[in-house]
């Protein structure tokens, strides 16, 4: 490319290149018919040469009346006429110039020739004769062929009208038509379409040159495609692990999520085979946020991690689960601020329900039991409320009469037998994990914690509100729950106001890949695990953490539910 432009830019070279062409073009233009291009092998038999003496044909050579030109197999020759017309001889053709000016007459003895007739004066004629038929035209493009052995020929007309004459019968063949002619049959009618077989262009003609160039380009492009496919393959493999999406603020988030076994954290250093870690990494233009959950189990984890993780949120079964958490650490950070939750002393709690009370038992200590009233109604300002115990979340919820009637307050548990979530029934046994020690800190500042209530002699917590002693920053905490985007949107906000005057706010959103908040209706009626997971996979979870300690900064995390499903944490 550079070489070509360099040539154009040099006036001296342009003149040098043009001068020979101009000089040689002068004598050529004086001849009515000259050879323009030769591909392969072509020969000429001059009119005055002895019979059988054929000489090699060269580009630029004149072809005069009486001269005969022939092309070898897989060869092509193009003749240029002084009025701008041209004639292309196909492979294995033999053509004689009968008259070259002002009329143009050729005899096609064998093979094919295509004529591009231009600028023909009304008084001039252009004709091609074969041993069987003759074609004469004005201003057109046509191809004529003759099979010497078969003694038959054809005429294909691309544009204009060609008059074909055989044995006195004359037929007009129009553009887009063709006609075959045979020695033993009278001339028929032309038909629509081209004759079968490759045309001269397809064999090696003018368009053949273009096709050859296109082929050359195509060869390069085919390799380019192979190389591009290699890039696609690599990209696709990686895409299975991470993705980019838009968060609720309209910012682009790159997301990676991992499940890790035997994490090398100090927290699990004593028993790495019992530990696993979930990691979620978020990268935005000007920030990086991450989340991790490090769990330590009661025994070495099985090969299939999901066997252990499936029961982390509790198990509905007569038999105790084999695996339960003994400790966990959950961290969130924007690389500057941190939220750290730690729990230790994890142990199983067996829960049964007699229709009135929940019975909580420590399976390792038969003397450690607690009975909790499932529904404890009370009256306030003349209205009836229900203090309902949620055995799954280990919490009490105050409900209005209407809310209670609607079945609120109770978390559903997963029933593997039906693949449905449902409340605990009177014939059920439910197992969950309780921790004897918990702490929650923001930027290293303890905000809340609990331990077993020593004043009651408790050593193993069964129900937090009964068995634990809580400590809050400033001595108290007050929670406010809101739905800032409306009750129909999956956006929830919880703010905790501590006695020390500080607060922490968590906004949680369920969002689509393009950052739109999901409607509550998206999950309406989805009670089965499979359908729920299928729907959940269409959405992402975003949590924005703000706190007094963060001084206006936020921890903004987006999590794809697939990490939870993949790990078995979500059933």
């Amino acid at each position: 490319m550079t070489a070509a432009i360099g040539r154009f830019r040099t006036p001296g070279f342009i003149f040098g290149a043009l001068a020979p062409a101009l000089l040689f073009s002068l004598p050529l233009s004086a001849e009515p018919v000259v050879v323009k291009k030769i591909r392969g092998k072509a020969e000429i038999h001059r009119a005055k040469a002895p019979a059988g003496r054929w000489a090699p044909l060269r580009p630029g050579a004149p072809v005069r009346p009486g001269d005969e030109v022939r092309t070898a197999r897989e060869s092509r020759t193009e003749l240029k006429l002084d009025d701008g017309s041209k004639v292309v001889l196909g492979s294995g053709s033999r053509v004689k110039v009968v008259e070259s000016s002002p009329h143009r007459f050729f005899t096609l003895a064998a093979g094919r020739m295509k004529s591009f007739v231009k600028n023909l004066r009304p008084t001039n004629k252009f004709g091609v004769r074969t041993p069987l038929a003759a074609a004469s035209v004005r201003g057109t493009v046509f191809e004529m062929g003759f099979d010497e052995q078969g003694n038959r020929g054809f005429l294909d007309v691309s544009r204009g009208i060609v008059s074909l004459n055989q044995d006195g019968r004359e037929v007009d063949v129009r553009g887009g038509q063709r006609i075959d002619f045979l020695s033993d049959r009278p001339l028929g009618e032309p038909v629509r379409g081209r004759s079968t077989g490759a045309s001269i262009e397809e064999e090696s003609g003018e368009d053949g040159d273009r096709q050859a160039l296109k082929r050359e380009v195509g060869l390069g492009m085919s390799k380019e495609m192979v190389m591009a496919a290699a890039a696609d393959e690599m990209r696709l493999a990686e895409y299975q692990e991470g993705k980019v999406l838009i968060d609720v603020h309209g910012d682009q988030v790159r997301l990676e999520e991992y499940v890790i076994r035997r994490p090398r954290d100090a927290f699990a250093a004593a028993n790495p085979d019992r530990a696993f870690k979930l990691v979620v990494l978020n990268e935005r233009d000007a920030r990086f946020d991450y989340f991790y959950y490090l769990g330590l189990f009661n025994q070495d984890l099985p090969e299939d991690l999901s066997v252990a993780l499936n029961d982390v949120r509790g198990k509905l079964s007569a038999a105790a689960p084999d695996y339960f958490l003994t400790a966990y650490e959950m961290g969130q950070s924007n690389t500057q601020d941190t939220v750290l939750d730690q729990a230790t002393g994890g142990h199983l709690v067996k829960i049964t329900y007699d229709g009135t009370n929940y019975c909580l038992e420590d399976p390792t200590d038969a003397s450690n039991t607690r009975t909790i009233l499932a529904d404890d109604p009370f009256t306030q300002d003349g209205d009836t409320y229900h203090k309902v115990y949620d055995p799954v979340g280990d919490r009490f919820v105050n409900l209005s009469e209407a809310q209670f009637a609607a079945g609120g307050g109770q978390s559903a548990v997963y029933d593997a037998g039906t693949d449905l979530f449902r409340p605990i029934g009177t014939s059920d046994t439910f197992w969950r994990t309780s921790f004897n020690s918990y702490s929650h800190a923001l930027n290293g500042i303890a905000k809340q914690s609990y331990i077993p209530d020593a004043t009651q002699g408790i050593t193993s917590i069964l129900a937090l509100d009964h068995d634990a002693t809580f400590t809050f920053a400033g001595g108290s905490v007050f929670a406010v729950t809101e739905t800032p985007s409306g009750v129909d949107s999956l956006h929830n906000r919880v703010t905790l106001f501590y006695g020390d005057g500080a607060f922490e706010t968590v906004n949680t959103y369920i969002i689509s890949d393009d950052g739109k908040i999901g409607p509550v209706s998206a999950f309406n009626g989805l009670a089965s695990g499979a359908a729920f997971k299928d729907e959940l996979l269409k959405w992402n979870y975003e949590q924005v953490y703000e706190a007094t300690e963060f001084e206006g900064r936020k921890i903004d995390l987006v999590v794809e539910p697939k990490i939870l499903i993949k790990s078995g944490l979500l059933r």
């Binding site: 154009f8 190389m227 290699a230 890039a231 999406l245 991992y258 099985p302 299939d304």
Partner: protein, 398 residues
């Protein structure tokens, strides 16, 4: 002025002295949308441009510089591997310069060099050039071609190319490089490639044509350590070899005086051998030779024009069967099965073209693809899906 002259010559194909410039153009503009599992995408447009000003210095030497550019706002079904509408849109630009030297009428030697960049946007509003999976390719090579006749010959080529994903760095590597995953490096997707190409073409009886092509590619990753059986990383990096062989035949045909057409049939075989493994942390399973596969493809295609109509209809189909030699399939819960992962993709395409002007065609095409696999675990990646698309527009080919 002289620069303007050069530009005019390059774009118009004018001849200047001994230098003859032949421009080749290809332009496709198609708009449409795709449907994945019944869900329609938004309307999008695809533009493909190819421009080659072939500069012929003499009968023995030509320079073939080719620019290719594309913008894709909607995806072809064959690009939607995994059933994912992976990217919002993409654009690619490439330049390949080939110098073609003819020796003795039968031999050609063609050194070449090229560069290509592809930019992909995953989200709406993302700036071009910021795409995580943007890549650059730089290539150089040489090809020899021997023509037995104008219709038959062979070629042998060697190319070296580098693939670089400049924006891709595992977030994991930025925070904790000890997570024992194969994609935890900084340049894990970058690779250096050596490719050998063998090709042969010859005429077949009844005006047919046969094309045989084989590509052999050796790929070395500079920053992707091999995963060991315990889930840790070894000190050596991943290397792959791929093989792709295809055979294509084409025959002209006519049925009476009313139907003229071209029938094509292609067969392909591909394989990838990689020394990279995978460790599934969830299951604690070491999956050896995770990326190895073999693949077969068969693709018939028929194009036909009917009677005096100027419409050309093309009906094509493709069946691709890929089998991973060592990667096990998984059930719906993600549990590994004894059988190996198999993936079958069948696609069909119907296209109609109508010439509206010289070298310009009105086009309509519609495709449908089915992907079926024994892999039932699809929480991360889709293996079983149906997808369709339609596109219409114009193409210019000169």
């Amino acid at each position: 002025m002289r620069r303007a002259l050069a530009v005019v010559v390059l774009f118009t194909g004018a001849s200047l002295g001994a230098v003859e410039v032949t421009p080749l153009w290809n332009l496709d503009f198609l708009g449409g949308q795709h449907f994945f599992e019944g869900r329609a995408s938004s309307l999008g447009g695809n533009i493909d441009v190819g421009y080659t000003p072939v500069v012929k210095f003499s009968d023995r030497w030509s320079l073939v510089p080719t620019y290719t550019g594309s913008y894709q706002g909607t995806r072809d079904v064959q690009e939607l591997a995994g059933g994912g509408t992976l990217f919002q849109d993409s654009t690619a630009h490439g330049l390949l310069v080939k110098s073609v030297h003819q020796w003795g009428g039968r031999w050609k030697v063609k050194p070449s060099a090229g560069a290509r960049v592809e930019l992909l946007r995953e989200t709406v509003g993302e700036d071009w050039g910021d795409g995580l999976f943007d890549y650059q390719k730089y290539s150089g090579g040489i090809e020899t071609e021997y023509a037995l006749s104008p219709q038959s010959g062979g070629r042998l080529a060697y190319d070296y190319y580098q693939l670089a994903f400049p924006n891709y760095q595992s977030l994991e590597s930025a925070t904790d490089p000890t997570l024992s995953r194969e994609l935890a490096g900084e340049k894990v997707l970058d690779s250096a490639n050596h490719m050998v190409t063998l090709g042969w073409w010859s005429p077949l009886p009844a005006e047919g044509r046969l094309d045989l092509t084989a590509y052999m590619n050796s790929r070395a990753f500079g920053d992707q350590p091999i995963v060991k059986a315990d889930g840790g990383l070894s000190g050596s990096d991943r290397s792959d070899t791929t093989l792709s062989v295809s055979a294509q035949s084409a025959h002209r045909f006519s049925l009476g005086e009313t139907v003229r057409g071209l029938g094509e049939m292609s067969f392909g075989y591909g394989s990838q051998n990689s020394d990279q493994n995978h460790y599934d942390a969830r299951k604690g399973d070491f999956l050896e030779n995770y990326y190895n596969y073999t693949q077969w493809t068969v693709a018939p295609r028929v194009s036909a024009a009917f009677g005096s109509s100027r419409w050309v209809a093309t009906l094509g189909a493709a069946y691709q069967a890929r089998e991973y030699g060592d990667r096990p399939a998984q059930d719906g819960n993600g549990d590994y099965l004894s059988e190996k992962l198999k993936l079958n993709v069948f696609s069909t395409r119907l296209s109609l073209a109508y010439p509206v002007a010289k070298n310009m065609k009105l086009r309509f095409q519609s495709s449908l693809a089915w992907s079926d696999s024994n892999m039932q675990y699809e929480k991360v990646f889709r293996y079983n899906y149906r997808i369709a698309n339609y596109m219409m527009g114009f193409s210019y080919d000169y």
